[in-house]
């Protein structure tokens, strides 16, 4: 459904963030993108919906090349791709409801959105989604009154109300505690299953990725160095992705921690 063909991105400073990326994401598949900081994970996700303009190559979403679209076509294409951010990126001074409804901006005209006169089906769907993530009672709160986990749930609602085919998820758990991280990852993967959504999830917590996704792609210096099952991530592979480190100990320790948390729950 989504296909990246020889995608490259070179920043003005000369940094080559992506070197000829080829990737195929079938419908409904959730994949995790791992790699060290600066490997190009964020750039890759942003090149797909063109928050960052790719230098060359093609991004095919259902056979439409997104890189060739004009601004109107790009807006239409962006509606098909929901995005979830690391620091939630909610509009802090708007209410939860306004934030969720802002996911419909691509479908609603300027004056309707400006006057907050959203079509009734959109409002119904917003309430349904808020109920699904357990935040219905928060609908009228301002976004900056929420905790981190709650904000990320609102972010998820905003992405889902777009009715997307694909979720682009940029470090969804990086600002959250371990327990909330797992809840958020579980929520995202569950919702993807319910709706048959494909998702690309940037994540730097390898153990967390292994726990929730069926496919892992490892990025290093803008190149794909691993693409396969989460169980195939051996210490050798992790060394190839992240560099030399004693992986046995790290992985074991992480797993121990997880057990502790599970016991505590």
């Amino acid at each position: 459904m989504l296909r990246l063909q020889e995608l490259t991105k070179t920043y003005k400073t000369g940094d080559q963030a992506l070197k000829t990326i080829d990737l195929d994401v079938p419908k409904g598949q959730v994949l995790a993108l791992i790699g060290p900081s600066g490997a190009g994970k964020s750039t890759m996700i942003r090149c797909i919906n063109r928050l960052v303009e790719p230098t060359s190559g093609a991004v095919l979403l259902d056979e439409t090349d997104l890189t060739r679209l004009g601004s109107g076509g790009l807006r239409k294409a962006r509606r098909e791709m929901g995005m979830i951010f690391q620091e939630y990126a909610l509009v802090e001074r708007l209410t939860v409801m306004e934030n969720v409804l802002s996911g419909r901006l691509g479908y609603v005209g300027f004056w309707r959105s400006f006057l907050r006169r959203y079509p009734q089906p959109d409002v119904d769907e917003a309430f349904r989604l808020l109920d699904r993530v357990g935040l219905l009672h928060m609908a009228d709160k301002r976004a900056d009154e929420l905790s981190g986990g709650q904000r990320q749930r609102v972010g998820i609602c905003r992405a889902l109300i777009q009715n997307p085919k694909l979720l682009l998820v940029d470090e969804p758990t990086a600002s959250l505690d371990p327990k909330t991280s797992r809840q958020i990852m579980r929520l995202i993967t569950e919702l993807c299953q319910e709706r048959g959504l494909a998702a690309i999830i940037n994540i730097h917590d390898v153990a967390l990725a292994q726990m929730f996704v069926p496919r892992v792609v490892g990025l290093r210096f803008g190149e794909i160095v691993y693409d396969g099952l989460p169980t195939g991530l051996s210490p050798d592979k992790l060394t190839e992705i992240y560099g030399e480190e004693d992986w046995e100990a790290t992985i074991e320790k992480v797993e121990d921690e997880d057990d502790d948390i599970e016991a505590a729950e």
Partner: protein, 271 residues
């Protein structure tokens, strides 16, 4: 941070000897320049007037007190004009400053090469000329009166408001804008949802702050004939009616105190 070795112990000093000397000479030079200027000013001062000043001030004080209270009946209208000049001027300025600010801010300007310098030019040129001078120019163009005062205040305030506003726009959290853009929102929707909510508190603060300043500025506009209480002030000064002058100053003081109280309240409510 020099460290000296002295008999095996390390002695730490804040500055090296060379730096100390340079600083010492800097201070010496400063004091010398100050004394030299003092001497020049002293030589060109008519000291008789200075020694005489307390007596004159005392004389004016006795003439000016008590204020001529019954004159207040004639000040209602002018102070109302002054308030209107300030308020209308601020409103017009804000109306014009918003687009200028969006054109000047690095992250919203359509073109950094052509339009941004133009917007910055508007900001600098309106800011650098005092409102009294704008009033003088405008009186020559549109004639004396309140209208000239309103326009003078408006023009003078555009640069101030636009500058503070564009700085606020440049400091917004970019990720919120990204998030709104990613939903497929149009340029104007991104502005209304991603940018405006973030700068609204700054905008309200700037508006009240400038209104407060403008009340003070508009009290003197009448001195050059641009309407408001300054007209009465200049007329009273011309005929040496000191009790009237003192009453006018009291009225201006009251107006300024009230406007400051209002602006403090409003800003407190926003933040």
């Amino acid at each position: 941070m020099p460290v000296l070795e002295h008999e095996g112990t390390q002695i730490w000093r804040r500055r090296t000897t060379g730096e100390n000397l340079i600083r010492w000479f800097g201070w010496l030079l400063g004091v010398a320049v100050f004394l030299y200027c003092w001497q020049i000013i002293s030589a060109s001062t008519t000291w008789f007037f200075v020694w005489d000043a307390p007596r004159i001030a005392d004389d004016i004080w006795t003439r000016a007190t008590p204020p001529k209270w019954e004159y207040i009946t004639q000040l209602g209208r002018p102070i109302w004009d002054t308030l209107n000049i300030a308020t209308l001027g601020t409103l017009i300025a804000l109306f014009l400053a918003v687009p200028v600010a969006f054109l000047a801010a690095r992250n919203t300007t359509p073109s950094t090469l052509f339009i941004r310098p133009l917007a910055l030019l508007i900001i600098v040129s309106t800011r650098s000329i005092n409102s009294l001078i704008w009033a003088l120019l405008l009186i020559a163009i549109i004639g004396p009166g309140v209208f000239a005062g309103v326009i003078a205040i408006a023009i003078r305030s555009i640069g101030f408001c636009a500058k503070l506003l564009y700085e606020a726009i440049e400091e917004i959290d970019h990720s919120q804008v990204e998030a709104i853009t990613a939903t497929g929102a149009s340029r104007w929707q991104v502005m209304a949802y991603g940018i405006v909510p973030q700068i609204l508190p700054a905008f309200a603060g700037i508006a009240v702050f400038r209104w407060d300043i403008n009340i003070r500025e508009s009290t003197v506009l009448g001195l050059v004939g641009a309407g408001g209480i300054g007209l009465q002030l200049s007329a009273s000064l011309n005929v040496l009616a000191w009790p009237q002058v003192s009453l006018i100053l009291l009225v201006i003081l009251a107006a300024v105190v009230i406007s400051e109280w209002v602006s403090a309240k409003v800003r407190g409510a926003i933040i």
